[in-house]
Assembly symmetry: C2
Homo-oligomer: 495 residues x 2
Amino acid sequence: MQFHAAYCSYLERNNTKMKALYQAIRDAIHEGQILYGEKLPSTRELAAAYHISRGVVNQVYDMLTSQGYLLSQHGKGTFVAYQIDLSNEEFIAEPAVRHLSGWGQRIRQLGQPATRDMVTPGDALKQSGAVIDFSRYQPDLSKFPYEEWNNRLYAEVRNREPDLNAASASVSSLGDPKLREAIAAYLRRMRGIQADAEHIAVTAGSMQAIALLTQLLAGPGDLVVTESPSYVGIAQAIQAAGAGLVEANLDGQGLVPQDWQARLLFVTPSRQFPTGEMLSLERRQTLLEWAHRQDAMIVEDDYDSEFRYRGMHVEPLKTLDKEGRVIYLGSFTKTLPVEVRLGYVVLPPALADTFRKAQALYEPRPVNLLEQRALAAFMASGQYERHLRRMNRFYSRKFLVLIQLLNQELASWFEWVDNDAGLHVFGWWQGDASAFADFRRAARSEGVLYSEVSSSAAPSTKYGIYLSFAHLSESELQEGVMRLKKAVTTGFKSC
Amino acid sequence: MQFHAAYCSYLERNNTKMKALYQAIRDAIHEGQILYGEKLPSTRELAAAYHISRGVVNQVYDMLTSQGYLLSQHGKGTFVAYQIDLSNEEFIAEPAVRHLSGWGQRIRQLGQPATRDMVTPGDALKQSGAVIDFSRYQPDLSKFPYEEWNNRLYAEVRNREPDLNAASASVSSLGDPKLREAIAAYLRRMRGIQADAEHIAVTAGSMQAIALLTQLLAGPGDLVVTESPSYVGIAQAIQAAGAGLVEANLDGQGLVPQDWQARLLFVTPSRQFPTGEMLSLERRQTLLEWAHRQDAMIVEDDYDSEFRYRGMHVEPLKTLDKEGRVIYLGSFTKTLPVEVRLGYVVLPPALADTFRKAQALYEPRPVNLLEQRALAAFMASGQYERHLRRMNRFYSRKFLVLIQLLNQELASWFEWVDNDAGLHVFGWWQGDASAFADFRRAARSEGVLYSEVSSSAAPSTKYGIYLSFAHLSESELQEGVMRLKKAVTTGFKSC
């Protein structure tokens, strides 16, 4: 809950639980941590989480409602009714920024930047030195062929005059032609996708593609569907574009298709992010039929299909697309050094030129051209695929160790999603909200970090955690699971 | 004129001049080279340019008007009345992309990507081998201290594990903290600007800043002022944001202030782009008072103030700004190798967090982090300023050679703007439109390229050219000016 830290801090300052809760929620609304229209936990959930009576929570909600902060809708729940005033004191000091465009106002309301490796705030984290950090998506770079990579990079540096200068001036924002050819060849061979290099755009990471595509295809009045839970960046892109967000439920076979009146759908068919569920072939067909009927577009985010440990590689949804409705996203951030921020998007031909213009609006020249050309050479030499095969074997061992440990030690607390691929493992919490809050605090105190999601689908909020394992050693995996187990079993019962 | 090449091509196919002109204009409208609402040349201008009678041009305009392509407004001129149909054949093939957001539709209509070194299309260029190219903004890299720079870059590559990985995961999209400190120190010392590193954002070139700031501060219904002529990227950013563009006139002392009902103003006070005019102190004060009255923001684009050959460095407008209304843009693209795409923006504190979120929407991590850190070290060691001083002396010689040649050889054809700084020289064409068209063709045929602007301020369209000289040797400058002279004096009189 967004006001948890504030609640504890108010309690520590000798307030009553009621007063602490009142002040914590009010602060969270004022500071924009809970936004206008957002649903609050039920009084039952909140009472359980904080070990206070429902009567106290009811009183707090009533006070906030009478002051205009909250609004109760019968049978639906309690919602934030207070909109942050853009003309408040922060702005009196600098009057010039009172005027933001509609887009600017939406941007101002956005939460923290979206990265898939968002670290849970570590305020209650005790053992900062020896933390086991499952919350960071980071490749194990100890096996990366730096020598070969640096040779490619240095070769470009040495050649930069005049070749790289001329290229930089003439290459479009879509990216280095050789890299786009190499990606097209990779997709044909490894993913069964037939795409021309001229319809592939190199991006500075997949978020650039998500934001630009949303902005191009949806605006105020349009609806965009995303999975619940899903990558937080997608919701931010939809919010920034001013479109409405529709959450699609998951049921173990990936998202459950419906007849949405939407313009655009984001989906992770190969391995749902973050739960890891795989979308069935039947549902893939249903989605394509839906898109045809609605005249809608589908963005397929294939964020970590490079790694598969058991079973067959699944063909992307894009391979079934006959109408140019599927836009395919891939990324190199799981396979190359972290600072090489490169991704790509396979565009339907009719959208390629408009996408290029959108990208060029923010940067007319390709970014990271040095790295783009190093990667083109790295791929053309076969070194990239050799690296993938080596990492696949290497991650496979870690994956099997982790999944066995989790099923052995933590099976009664989490339902671990059955999984053959990727760089993280996902589990649904089997207890209630209150116990989850206890677990969260205890895990911090044990010095173990993980990523957390909640899904507010009916009948009640579900909580889940996922553990990124690529960068951890086998003994760290072991130690991390033991700490998680200690956290669930001992638990913290109060602030 | 956008239909010139087509006109020549129709003529070559043995059409009459009337038929060729009719078909060329119709094609240009169909292909979106002249857009809905755009003004066509007057019949007088067109007749002069093509050496045909005004009666023929009148007949062509009448035909196109009767067919709905054009509309005459008494006393105002002739305008395009035909809107390209978005549901034409290109889209029937791929129905899915019929639905673009409002932003997407505006992006689709944008012209070519904005780069300051836009090359005039070389279709009629004969001597491709030995072209003298004044149209490219490119530093002279023969003097760049590559060894020192590469050492910095390599040092980062060697240090990348684990330092760079950790930094990449934790540095915000605003950029490397050390680079932002180095920029703040540089601005204090060299430009008199007091800015905290926390209010400086590193961008991937100045276009990123222009596009994001426009989008944040102006939307549909807002007006944005820009100089006429100015950098084409500004007009594209305004068009993309859906705001209205107001053109401000220049009169030799920079832009002429008016009481615009606008939200945002783009200005190049140190050296107007591209004319090179310097904005007087009085006008700077007037602009700040205007911004106060209108509660507006001003973006100061200080695109090439690193280079000044005579006289004093001018303090930026930003140094007079007491209210946090001026946003200052700087760039490294004139001083570092072309593929290092780095610029920066000094933000008013109240806007810094919103700008960071806007930047992070498209890319949550800093781009070019390797280059950012290399540059931070390069600046901290003093090497960057030594490089600037050396280049200043070096460019100074080229500048003096060029300005003397132009005043000697081309003074009766162009009015060369008096100038002490920068990497290009600007001149206003002293003849009429027809003679300018002749000059343009003759210059291509002589194998000399330059950049061209037109300003449609009253009483008639003015034409100007600018010559970027940084990358050319003194003998190339000499040869280039001689070719320009040959082009104006011989001229081409027909296709």
